[in-house]
């Protein structure tokens, strides 16, 4: 028993997934020793959030066969909402300091952002995709592709039209001293954001594995007609899926506002990142999105550190092309699983 488990572990280490994960950890350690532990901190802070984005994209594809190219715009909606909650409160706090309000402001901002994403997701499903489902499903993939591209353009331009083409950001969340971990100083914001991502991922995993709602979502993903045959209200499950996926994107947008100020196209980089992750770990591999998120984040931080700003999207692009050529199912060899391919 123990022996067979260790044989399995060795085999996994020798697989492409194992090799990549091991290499990532080694690179992370090497770079932190060479350039200082901030590399690691930045990787952890953004990686968790990119994982959340990728989980959303993966979920929408796995459950509804929608490849959402507007997913970055829910990140944008999140950051915009967080800004319009936090900024006025912070202005007010400058004049009338209040420690409780100062503490609660970022919480309100991030919670508000998530709520906005959930609502936007439900509206997107009800107003667009539910209508499309009522008609026939012919050409569904292509239709959804075009719709999400169009939605992305519309949302970006709406942002520009209503809120203007400016950077809307906050410098930090909490005005408290940085935490000292040995000689490394890490701002509280970063630590909290990392834990928010971990909690959200944990919440998602628990939801999908152990709750009836999660099982219903999986049932619809695995066999939509089967789900209807056991009386699952499929349309409601679809709306919930959208709410979850878009809620996570907006949570990421709200949580990263101090690093990524809101502006019309702020969602594009996160969108690219989630697609990088998905191609890296394989379509529909929701669990793989978590290590994938950290890998991509590390990759980008390392490229930025050694090659300079701007290269962080070029190099992953090469990597993605290589993966598509040599490992089209991703490093974990996931088979594409979706409603139509069961």
């Amino acid at each position: 028993m123990n022996n067979s488990r260790s044989i399995k572990a060795v085999e996994w280490l020798k697989s492409s997934g194992g090799i990549t994960v091991t290499c990532t950890i080694l690179v992370a350690l090497a770079v932190s020793i060479h350039k200082g532990p901030y590399v690691l901190v930045n990787t952890l802070v953004t990686g968790g959030m990119w994982a959340l984005m990728a989980i959303g994209v993966s979920l929408l594809f796995g459950v509804m066969n929608i490849s959402n190219f507007a997913h970055g715009e829910y990140f944008m909606i999140g950051s915009l909402t967080a800004y319009y909650i936090m900024h006025p409160l912070k202005e007010y706090l400058l004049e009338t300091p209040n420690s409780f309000l100062a503490f609660i402001t970022p919480v309100l901002g991030i919670a508000g952002a998530t709520l906005a994403g959930v609502i936007a997701g439900i509206l997107t499903d009800k107003l667009i995709f539910a209508q499309l489902r009522k008609r026939n499903r012919e050409g569904w993939l292509l239709n959804c592709f075009l719709i999400t591209i169009g939605l992305s353009i519309i949302l970006i331009n709406l942002h520009m039209l209503i809120f203007g083409n400016t950077f809307k950001g906050v410098v930090n969340y909490w005005d408290v001293p940085s935490l000292a971990l040995g000689d490394v100083y890490v701002s509280v914001d970063r630590v909290v954001v990392f834990f928010i991502a971990m909690l959200a991922i944990l919440f998602f995993w628990y939801l999908m594995m152990y709750t009836t709602l999660g099982k219903k979502i999986r049932a619809v993903a695995q066999d939509e007609n089967g789900a209807r045959m056991v009386g699952i209200p499929v349309n409601r499950v679809y709306s919930t899926t959208f709410a979850l996926a878009c809620g996570f994107a907006a949570l990421a947008g709200g949580s990263l506002l101090f690093m990524f100020p809101s502006y019309p196209t702020v969602g594009i980089a996160p969108l690219y990142n989630s697609w990088f992750i998905i191609i890296l770990v394989g379509f529909g591999n929701v669990a793989g999105a978590v290590p994938g998120g950290f890998m991509i984040a590390l990759f980008q931080v390392v490229t930025r550190t050694y090659m300079g700003e701007g290269w962080e999207n070029v190099i992953p692009m090469f990597l993605i092309s290589a993966i598509l050529i040599f490992k089209p199912y991703g490093i974990f060899e996931t088979k594409v699983r979706s409603v139509w391919e069961q």
């Binding site: 009836t212 099982k215 219903k216 999986r218 049932a219 695995q222 066999d223 007609n225 089967g226 789900a227 209807r228 045959m229 056991v230 009386g231 699952i232 209200p233 499929v234 699983r337 069961q342």
Partner: protein
Amino acid sequence: MLLKVKNLNAGYGFLNVLWDVSLNIGKGEFVALIGPNGAGKSTVMKSISGLLPPKSGTITFDGQVINNQDCAVNCRSGLSYISEELNLFTGMTILENLEMGAQMLEDKNKARENLDFVFELFPRLEERISQYAGTLSGGERKMLAIARGLMSNPTMVLVDEPSLGLAPQVTDEVFNALRLLNRQGLTILLVEQNVTKTLKFSSRAYILEKGKVVLEGPSSELITNDHVRKIYLGT
């Protein structure tokens, strides 16, 4: 009548498959729908269940017209459909599949009872309770699909070709289970190609050819009917 189908026309796209099909099934009956491959038997089942909206005609279940009602709503009003393709959740365990079958029940004790009941009916499922549905054998999948369809306490089940591709003794197991369920009051509409066996188990049967009902009557009479003997029994 529990289920009344009147002048049903249905098909796929522009293609019409069913022509004025009418069926009547009373509470507690065990009715069979027999016919050659491609006659439209599965299309009848899909239309009744709500997976395929009919082109015209009326379908009444328990006094309510259910023509354009979603399959999920029909299931919740007691009409359970066990399809030819089975539509199992292949990435879930047997237990999870069965839980999903009972997800509409508010009373969790009832769900527990139903679970015990289907395990009694198909002990093999209990032995493999945490095995993934996608890894089961053909016969076990059929059993799981039937069991899942029973988890919601239906008043009527539509069963599409449960014997397709099964070894004879497994077929017997499935048929015996259906007979037992019928004796306990469950109304059954069964689609089958195994004509001899079906006519022995069912009380009444309809014969569907090229999308039309060509014969109907008590199974014991049909078994001696010349047309049936010539075409289906080969005697």
